[in-house]
C-alpha cells in the first residue's frame, strides 16, 4: 500500500543527483515491505537482506533511468527488488542446489481484506489456477515447483498460467 503524501518520485530524482538522504528516506519508507517480498521469494532471511542491499544499490545507481511514463516510482523499486530476487533464485539453481525447504514457508493466500482490481479479477479464476499465479508472483516458484506444490502435471501448470494471464489481461485491461 503506498503511503499517502510520500513523494517516491522526488526521492528517485534526488537519488539520481547523489543525495544519500533520499535513498535513506525510501529505505525508511519501504525496506520492511521490500524485505517481506524478498523473503518470500528467497525463502531465507539472510539472503533476502542481501537482495534488499543489492536492490537499494541498484535503485541508487539506476535512479536516473526511472521512466515515470512507464509506471510509478514506488512500483519501480518493487520491480527492481523482485527481479533481483527472481534472478538470484533462477541463476543459483544452475550451480548451487538450493535447499527445498524454505525457511519462510509459503502459506495459503488469504485474499480477503485486499482490495484492488487485481484481486477482483483473481476471484474470477478457478482457485487452483489462482494459486499458480500467486505461488509464482509471491513465492517466486518456477513452473516445476508450482507443479510439485499443487500436485499437478507440469504441462497443465504451464497451460493454466498461460490462460490465466490472458484472462487477467482481459479482466484488467
Amino acid at each position: 500500500m503506498p503511503e499517502p503524501g510520500f513523494d517516491y518520485e522526488a526521492c528517485l530524482t534526488a537519488c539520481a543527483q547523489g543525495d544519500h538522504q533520499a535513498l535513506r528516506d525510501l529505505y525508511t519508507q519501504e525496506s520492511a515491505r521490500l524485505l517481506g517480498v524478498a523473503r518470500r521469494i528467497a525463502g531465507d532471511n539472510a539472503l533476502a537482506e542481501d537482495i534488499v542491499h543489492d536492490a537499494f544499490i541498484r535503485i541508487w545507481t539506476k535512479a536516473a533511468s526511472f521512466d515515470p511514463a512507464l509506471g510509478t516510482a514506488r512500483g519501480w523499486i518493487f520491480s527492481v527488488t523482485r527481479h533481483l530476487a527472481l534472478n538470484f533464485m533462477r541463476n543459483s539453481a544452475r550451480l548451487v542446489s538450493i535447499s527445498q525447504d524454505h525457511e519462510v514457508a509459503s502459506s495459503g493466500f488469504d485474499l480477503h481484506g485486499h482490495s484492488g482490481r487485481i484481486y477482483d479479477c483473481l476471484e474470477q479464476l478457478p482457485p487452483a489456477r489462482r494459486d499458480c499465479l500467486l505461488h509464482a508472483y509471491v513465492d517466486g516458484y518456477s513452473h516445476g515447483q508450482i507443479a510439485e506444490k499443487l500436485g499437478t502435471p507440469l504441462g497443465t501448470v504451464k497451460a493454466w498460467i498461460k490462460r490465466s494471464l490472458a484472462a487477467l489481461r482481459e479482466c484488467m485491461g
Binding site: G18, H20, Y27, D54, I57, N91, S92, L95
Partner: protein, 238 residues
C-alpha cells in the same frame, strides 16, 4: 526476430510473474534494453500485478542493513569519479571490445577499470585470460581474476566483500563439460589469492568462476552449497 504483440505480451506476463527460466530471463532483459514494445508490455504487467506484493507480510530489516547499504554507497561514490579520470597508461585495459564482452558491461567495466588503474603499480604481465566476478543481483564487480599463464591464476579483490562472521568465501571453477564445480580453496575478503591450477585442465574460454558463502571450513560436501556471492566467466585477452 519478428514477434507478434500477443507473444510479447505473453512473454512480458511470464517475466513479471516470475516463471521464466534463468536463460529466458536473460534474453528478456537483453531485449528490454532495445525493444520499446516489450518494455511497454512489461511495464503494463508490472502495473497490473504490483498490488500482489501486499500478500508478502512486511518484515523489518536487521539494524545493520542500512549501514551495509551506506558503506556500499560510499564505496561507489569513491570509485565512480576515479573511473572517469583520464587513463595514463594505454594498454589492453583500454580495448573497448574486451570490456564489451564482459558481463554487466557498463557499470562493471567502469568500476573495474577505475579500481584496477588505481591499485596498479607495476606493468601488467601478458595476460591470457581475464574474469570479472560480479554480484549476481547487482552485477557490481567484486573481484578480478588474472591468468598470466594457463596454469596459475590470481584472484584480486576490488573491495572488501561482506562476509558474515560464521561464514567463509569459497572459490570454485567449472569448465564446459565438467560434471560439477571444483573448489579452488577458501578466500579471505579483501585479500589476493594465488592459485596454481596444476591439478586441473588448462583454462578455457567461458570457464565459470564463482565465490559462494560456505561454512568456515569450506563446503562440507565438496560442492557449492551456499549462495553465490560473485560469479563470472573467463574471457580470452588477445
Amino acid at each position: 526476430m519478428n514477434t507478434s504483440p500477443d507473444d510479447n505480451d505473453q512473454l512480458a506476463g511470464e517475466y513479471v510473474l516470475g516463471t521464466l527460466t534463468a536463460e529466458q530471463r536473460r534474453e528478456v532483459e537483453q531485449r528490454l534494453a532495445v525493444d520499446a514494445d516489450l518494455r511497454l508490455a512489461v511495464a503494463s504487467w508490472e502495473r497490473r500485478l504490483l498490488e500482489l506484493t501486499d500478500l508478502a507480510p512486511p518484515h523489518p530489516p536487521s539494524t545493520h542493513l542500512w549501514g551495509r547499504i551506506e558503506r556500499s554507497l560510499d564505496a561507489l561514490d569513491q570509485s565512480v569519479p576515479a573511473a572517469s579520470a583520464p587513463a595514463t597508461a594505454p594498454s589492453w585495459w583500454d580495448r573497448l571490445a574486451l570490456w564489451r564482452g564482459l558481463a554487466g558491461a557498463g557499470l562493471a567495466a567502469t568500476l573495474v577499470l577505475g579500481s584496477v588503474l588505481l591499485t596498479r603499480t607495476t606493468p601488467l604481465p601478458e595476460t591470457a585470460y581475464l574474469v570479472v566476478l560480479v554480484a549476481p543481483q547487482s552485477q557490481a564487480p567484486g573481484w578480478v581474476i588474472q591468468a598470466s599463464s594457463p596454469r596459475e591464476i590470481q584472484l584480486i579483490p576490488l573491495g572488501v566483500a561482506q562476509v558474515p562472521a560464521d561464514k567463509a568465501l569459497q572459490f570454485w571453477t567449472k569448465a564446459e563439460g565438467w560434471q560439477a564445480p571444483v573448489s579452488l580453496g577458501l578466500v579471505k575478503p579483501g585479500q589476493r589469492l594465488q592459485v596454481p591450477l596444476d591439478q586441473l585442465p588448462p583454462l578455457t574460454p567461458d570457464q565459470l568462476f564463482e565465490l559462494t558463502l560456505e561454512n568456515p571450513g569450506g563446503s562440507p560436501t565438496g560442492k557449492p552449497t551456499g549462495p553465490i556471492q560473485f560469479i563470472g566467466r573467463a574471457v580470452k585477452v588477445l
